[in-house]
Amino acid sequence: MKIRNYWNLRDLGASVWEKANRPKRVVIATSSIFLVGLLPFAGASFLATPIAAYDAVLVYPVGVFILMALGLNIVVGKSGMLDLGYVAFFAIGAYTMALMGTHTGLNTWEIMPFGIGFAMLAGVLLGLPTLRLRGDYLAIVTLGFGEIVRLVVLNSTWSKGPNGIANIPMPPDIGPFKFKLEDQKVFFWVVVIMILLVIWMIRRLSIRRPGRAWEAIRQDEDAAELMGVATLKYKIWSFTLGAAVGGAAGVLYASKNLFIAPEMFTLNVSILILSCVVFGGIGNIWGVVVGATILGYLPDRIRFISDARLLVFGAVLVVVMNFRPDGLLPRKKREKAIVKSEVNA
């Protein structure tokens, strides 16, 4: 028992955190955030990526993947609804940034609320009719929605169709921190801050009424409904919050990339993000972060994977589901025990 505990990273981390008192926790948290902040300077070490620039890789795919995986985790992990069209919200955020950035002269931070708002609006519009449905229908409808957003953008004139939108402005400098194309450290720090904000939001919500409602819905929707949980309302909230994070990631991505086109928002992105969530551990924030880091970083580090990237990810989904259905760092055992007794009954 004792030996196995060392391999159980989740419990090990949790026990260190539980045992620590408040000042210790502050020290642990700030020092780990500081270490993460130093990551872009490690470009010369074994972490370096052979082809793509290392600090760019840290922003996209790694950082943006973590951000989106955390957003998708609210929907898939917390409330147990399978969303296969998550890329739609990412695309909505990115196109909001592209169109407003090139036409209105607002900067990235002023457009961010609009991007998040439009993504949330789309989430509500899609959620209202479809969240009444059972899980597998929802999966298909969201799958279709993701494709529809791409097709609409591809076939419309306002979005310049397949040519995409170029000359998207970079974010304005914040004091001494300058955003540059060739040196993306500042972008990385912004992504880290956004990730921390999202983690903070999820942790706050998880222990309050919405979090408990999502947990109840995930375990047994009918029972939750009977206990007086407004299931539709909380499902829409979960869907919309997930959409908001996706929209924010989209705004940042467009502003970082300076150019976007419909082919960046294919179904594959949804699948990649879903793989991140599933691989790391559905429902567990740290599991999702680890999963997204590994799946975002490895294809750039080990070049031969990147051609067959999707094949590897598909295989990851199958293998993980078959042999470790709860992912690398699964959520806490207490919840698992409930699910298990349910199955046996």
Binding site: V141, F145, I271, L311, F313, G314, A315, M321, P325, V343
Partner: protein, 316 residues
């Protein structure tokens, strides 16, 4: 806007019926598996895509037709067509059984939740698609023209082509045979028993695993037949054609009432016609959007489909 629709109404209708029959056969792959497992067979679109390559390989590598060779006639034509149909059905059926073994069986034995099974099925479908993409270098693969597309007659200004006629007649026959199989055979009875009540069927001595594998096989065979007709009509295939076709066929299955075989028939035909008319009015680039809107509307107003999802009562 409607001028095209009115001008070419009858030729559109015939094209729509032919497309509809292709949808009918693919949606059988969805509907049968759903009836038994209460789960969407996510990999069915890729099963279809693999099936199309069965036909192409038969034409190109077994019978050595090329893009410039003369189309076949007479007895030879019959032999080539039937063997490529069988090849497509074989490839698709095999893939479907493989999908069941890899994605569903282990998880079913463990009794894990539906989300896990769904994700593992998605994983298999990505793998199938990616393997084909790597094999074909992401390029579309043309099929040599085996069947010359002779115009048989003209009805109300619409050309009736040989390939459309073959598609409609043969697909109808295959659908009819499958329906009889489900209705009359011992295995068909077992499939219906499992879809009505799994536990009771198990107690009555039905071999659950064999029934489920057979269901995947039969669904795969129907899907494989559809891929043969697809290649015969469109003469090409690509690693990513599965998505659009699968989405449409799934919509057809939901439209008719998923889990309901007769529903798949009418749903497929309705959707085929609807799609062809809609692309005449709005332009083909909005075809997929129409399908999606139909899906959402059906789920919104009649989630059980036109013929009801209640498999117990309405299943043929």
């Amino acid at each position: 806007m409607f001028a095209v629709l009115i001008d070419q109404f009858w030729s559109l209708t015939i094209a729509g019926v032919a497309l509809g029959f292709i949808y009918v056969l693919i949606s059988l792959g969805y509907t049968m598996v759903y009836g038994v497992l209460r789960m969407i067979n996510f990999a069915n679109s890729e099963i279809f895509m693999w099936g199309t390559f069965g036909t192409i390989i038969t034409n190109r590598d077994i019978f050595h037709y090329t893009q410039i060779s003369e189309p076949a006639t007479g007895l030879k034509l019959g032999i080539v067509l039937i063997s490529s149909l069988l090849m497509s059905m074989f490839v698709a059926g095999l893939t479907a059984v493989l999908v069941e073994f890899v994605a569903y069986r282990r998880l079913r034995a463990k009794g894990t939740n539906r989300l896990a099974t769904l994700i593992s099925a998605i994983g298999v479908s990505i793998c199938l698609q990616e393997i084909m993409r790597l094999l074909t270098d992401s390029r579309p693969v043309g099929s040599p023209r085996v069947l010359e597309k002779i115009i048989l007659t003209e009805v109300w200004g619409a050309n009736i082509r040989l390939d459309t006629v073959i598609t409609i007649i043969a697909a109808a026959i295959i659908y009819f045979l499958l329906e009889r199989f489900i209705k009359l055979s011992r295995m068909g009875k077992a499939i219906r028993a499992v879809s009505q009540n799994e536990d009771a069927a198990k107690l009555m001595g039905v071999n659950l695993n064999r029934v489920i594998t057979t269901t995947f096989l039969v669904g795969g065979l129907a899907t494989g037949a559809a891929s043969f007709f697809y290649v015969t009509v469109f003469e090409y295939s690509k690693y990513n054609i599965g998505f659009t076709m699968g989405m449409a066929a799934f919509t057809a299955a939901v439209l008719g009432g998923i889990g309901n075989i007769r529903g798949a028939f009418f749903g497929g035909l309705t959707l085929g016609l609807l799609e062809v008319y809609a692309s005449a009015v709005l332009g083909t680039q909005w075809k997929a959007v129409t399908v999606f809107i139909v899906l959402v509307l059906v789920l919104l107003f009649k989630p059980n489909g036109l013929f009801g999802e209640a498999v117990q009562q309405t299943r043929a």
